[in-house]
Symmetry: C3
Subunit: 133 residues, 3 copies
């Protein structure tokens, strides 16, 4: 069983939109790439962010922290693999996320996401970030 080409393409668009949203400081737009009850778990942060309000606050803190340090960081996404989920309205995604500045790589992480089909297209329902040692 394979994922139809137009669904794969919609996932590439979702990940492109998501990175540009957080990197431009559009916190609400970033949160809207998750489902309303979407989860974000990362070893870089002590607590998961769950639901639109917490996700928005997370993206606002990220942007503020960059502004305070005077450093522009970018979420560079690549090597996306989209696989079928347990039902037709669920997809599983693996991708690499490099968080990088103008001169050096800050973090290399692996995204393991579960996406849900919504009326507005695919959204992240669960994201588990794995950070390489």
């Amino acid at each position: 069983m394979t994922v139809p080409a137009h669904e794969v393409m919609a996932v590439h668009q979702l990940y492109g939109a998501q990175s540009h949203a957080i990197d431009e400081g559009r916190a609400a737009d970033w949160a809207a790439t998750f489902t309303p009850d979407g989860e974000f778990r990362s070893p870089s942060y002590p607590e998961p962010a769950i639901g639109t309000a917490m996700l928005t606050a997370f993206a606002e803190r990220f942007h503020q922290s960059c502004a305070e340090s005077g450093e522009t960081l970018r979420h560079v996404v690549s090597t996306i693999e989209v696989r079928p989920g347990g039902d037709p309205d669920t997809l599983l995604v693996r991708a690499y996320l490099q968080i990088t500045g103008p001169s050096r790589l800050h973090r290399l992480t692996v995204l393991a996401d579960e996406l849900a089909r919504t009326g507005d297209g695919w959204r992240v329902r669960r994201r588990a970030v794995h950070r390489d040692a």
Copy 2:
């Protein structure tokens, strides 16, 4: 309003072709990924390149400069987001462009492009490169 999957895919192909053209020294092929009146503006260069002749000369200079320094640089493109433009024959694109050598990242830039539909497919009409500090 979303961009149809096959148009998004054509944009991914355009950006892949564009990078490999400039990195292999095929200056005319690189210039041909722009419209005949295409514009390229980047803070890394004092003057914009406008139109096929200037674009070709730009790509030739890039290749020559790499040859002189003995350094192979690569235009690594990722995190492409394609959005609808003001009319059906225009698209807007955001992407990350890392200009990188074998051992270090030289520049991290953000592409903000306007694409135009042509008889040969999508072409860059206006490119504004934003260079991270």
Copy 3:
């Protein structure tokens, strides 16, 4: 002549799957992204790997070497360009492959692949890795 969008997308999926397979130590899954007589040639290794058994052994050695050095390396693929091959069941692909760890880029290589259509989708028939100096 252009490659249909759904074929391009299948190629993106193949490259995503391939990287995640070798990086997670799934050697047989990695080998299965090549045709049964698939070839892998790289200046980083003295001998080409040809056919499923050699390809599997290659991926096992890569994983073991990372385990021994305690280093997690990732095959970050980007800038994919898919072109028609000599017949409808062959495609040619250029892409950038960055082999990178959490803090530094280990190798920047260019993939020049020939893909063959199989009953299970596109598979790599010949891969020539070009390593930048």
